[in-house]
């Protein structure tokens, strides 16, 4: 119990760090205090891992003081800054009976998910062998464990390290390796996402009920609940992808630079979580460049500044990891775990049939997803004209693009001559996890399709923020 409370205390520091950074970025006070906190947790975990990579670059050991003191110092500006927290995201809503039921279900579900998550240690296959092993090695070495990663003991040694680093931080804080408390990281990320999902939907004009429904959907999807508690990195990468996508959507809507910066930061943290996050970040960058150049407002120089800013944020955050990755790719043992280079042959397009067959099995699996994908398909079919307009079109493009990337992976990578890692194996073991990575953003997409129904057809009007216009934001 004491360990559990200390584990909770350990994640307060990254949350305060993230909150402070969001407040520093939010010079024009676009966000409310509640949004600062909800974004702060996800941002803090990302910055913590980046800081640890930076320490490793300069051969500084990961001690509690080397981690906590800089975080505490960086949190001070957020606490001292004279910040008028008068901006409310939404006008105070009237809570009806249904909303109260939704709130109660969300509260109960979050509580049980957290408790059941923390009562079990890291135990699932990838969670122990991939992330947990690295996390334990980082804790014991007080550094990135090159000895482990350079040998073929570690599976996927070139995988990004955000999750193992963040998990090992909890143990470093406790002073003892803890298989249970490491899960606080995933729980915190999940809570952080749910909070921001709600506030972002309210910003885009969704009613209280739609916002709560979206939160309820995410926290009651069986696949999501399972992944919050098992220590895999698929949900965290999906959360970072979704946060980046939502911030991108808000940037398109409100044109505040803050959201562009946040989108760049979250997509970089997604890339630091899993390789799929890098593909998602590249996709988001392409969308950002297209949107920037297609805008009629501002000059080309302004657009180029934005694009270069995005690249700069990305470069600064990814550099410490890329240095390590290149080193590990060149390690003598790397060939043992390296996948064969993808080759394209026309015959491989025949794989589309089993791939889509597996996709539809998942889409219509109530046991895994409840009615999420069915709702999205119905909402798309019913309101395809609306869904192809404005920010929704961009979110839809991001989701479709990411799904296409996964499909390309299944076409190109699996080797049919391999005794185990053939297409069938990949499909059986990874499709549900690939869809899980899309789930957080998909829920936002679904809710933004439902939102106009309740607000009587309003599609892209200003959000319900009191007196908030583009003019007074800049």
């Amino acid at each position: 119990m004491t360990h559990c409370s200390m584990g909770l205390l350990s994640v307060v520091f990254p949350t305060l760090l993230g909150r402070s950074l969001v407040r520093v970025f939010d010079r024009r006070q676009v966000l409310s205090e509640a949004e600062h906190i909800s974004l702060g947790a996800a941002l803090g975990i990302g910055f913590l891992s980046w800081w640890m990579l930076l320490l490793d670059w300069f051969s500084i050991p990961f001690t509690r003081s080397n981690l906590v003191i800089p975080m505490a110092i960086a949190s001070i500006p957020g606490m001292l800054g004279s910040f008028r927290s008068n901006r409310s995201t939404v006008n105070p809503p009237r809570v009806r009976r249904t909303d109260a039921v939704l709130l109660a279900v969300i509260a109960v579900q979050l509580l049980t998910t957290t408790v059941f998550s923390l009562v079990r240690p890291i135990e699932a296959h990838d969670a122990v062998f991939n992330w947990g092993l690295k996390s334990k090695a980082i804790f014991l070495a007080r550094a990135v464990p090159m000895r482990l990663l350079e040998t073929n003991v570690s599976p996927n040694p070139t995988y990004p390290l955000l999750m193992p680093l963040a998990q090992s931080y909890v143990s470093l804080f406790l002073g003892d390796y803890d298989d249970f408390c490491a899960k606080w990281i995933c729980v915190l990320l999940f809570m952080s996402f749910l909070g921001f999902l709600y506030f972002a939907l309210r910003r885009t004009g969704a009613s209280l009920r739609t916002g709560l429904f979206a939160v309820l959907v995410v926290c009651t999807i069986p696949q999501v609940v399972e992944q919050v508690s098992n220590g895999y990195a698929d949900l965290p990468v999906g959360i970072y992808f979704a946060l980046a996508g939502i911030c991108f959507c808000l940037w398109l809507r409100e044109e505040s630079h803050l959201f562009m910066v946040l989108a760049a930061l979250f997509s970089a943290f997604g890339a630091l979580t899993k390789d799929e996050g890098l593909a998602a970040a590249a996709l988001l960058f392409c969308c950002f460049v297209t949107a920037m150049l297609a805008r009629r407002k501002g000059s080309i120089a302004h657009a180029l500044t934005g694009i270069l800013g995005f690249i700069a944020i990305f470069g600064v955050l990814l550099l410490p990891w890329l240095r390590l990755k290149i080193h590990l790719e060149l390690a003598p043992q790397a060939y043992l775990v390296r996948r064969p280079f993808p080759r394209f042959e026309w015959g491989r397009l025949e794989r589309l049939w089993p791939i889509f067959y597996q996709y539809q099995l998942q889409w219509f699996s109530l046991r895994n997803w409840n009615l999420l994908w069915v709702f999205i398909l119905v909402a798309l079919a019913a309101g395809y004209r609306q869904s192809l307009r404005g920010e929704r079109a961009w979110i839809g493009s991001l989701l479709l693009g990411q799904l296409m990337i996964y499909t390309m992976f299944y076409i190109l990578v699996p080797d049919e001559n391999h005794p185990v890692m053939n297409l069938s194996w990949y499909l059986m073991t990874t499709v549900s996890r690939m869809l899980l990575q899309l789930t957080p953003l998909s829920v936002f997409f679904l809710a933004s399709l439902l939102a106009p129904l309740e607000s009587r057809g309003r599609l892209a009007g200003p959000g319900p923020i009191g007196g908030h216009t583009l003019q007074n934001m800049h």
């Binding site: 039921v101 079990r120 240690p121 122990v128 003991v153 429904f213 185990v420 129904l453 309740e454």
Partner: protein
């Protein structure tokens, strides 16, 4: 629409089908909250979602009652007991002995668990900083009693046939 669903729920006669009863409750709760026609769609979506969620929860709890009880038991157990229950009693006990016998710098290999198998991964994880190696100093024989090596001597043998062997490496002259 809600009236129709209410009727369907009321007419359901199956005594053990929880969802219709719960659907009835949900429909009742939402009855006063249908202000506009489009909003009914959102409400219907919420109602349907909650009904399926409750159905899935009930179904999994009923079909795996022992698992639910086991999980609930975890609350009253010590961390050590939780680890034992999560990783499996036999594997955990085997790990505890290995942890006691093998030095932290030891290289080992596992016999009896296939590489990539869940228990293999768990054992490798639990035993770290002792590392899995192609050139092991110790051989951990788990559930494979017939296994023997001429150049290895037995350090520990368990009642169920599990062994810890130390390999005598003959250095080439």
């Amino acid at each position: 629409m809600w009236e129709a669903s209410l009727r369907t729920a009321t007419n359901s006669e199956s005594p053990r089908s929880a969802p219709p009863i719960l659907s009835l409750c949900t429909a009742f709760l939402m009855a006063s909250d249908f202000p506009t026609k489009p909003a009914r769609l959102v409400n219907a979506a919420i109602w349907l979602w909650l009904a399926i969620w409750i159905f899935l929860l009930t179904k999994s709890a009923v079909s795996n009652f022992a698992g639910v009880r086991q999980t609930l038991d975890l609350f009253w157990e010590t961390p050590e007991e939780r680890l034992q229950q999560s990783y499996g009693t036999e594997l955990y006990e085997f790990y505890k002995v290995c942890q006691r016998i093998l030095p932290e710098t030891a290289r080992f290999d596992i016999v009896g668990l296939e590489r990539g198998a869940q228990d293999h991964s768990r054992l490798v994880y639990l035993l770290y900083p002792r590392v899995l190696s192609d050139r092991p100093e110790y051989l951990l024989v788990y559930h494979s009693p017939s296994h023997n090596l001429p150049n290895a001597h037995r350090i520990v043998s368990f009642d169920n046939g599990d062994l810890i062997l130390q390999i005598d490496h003959q250095e080439p002259r």
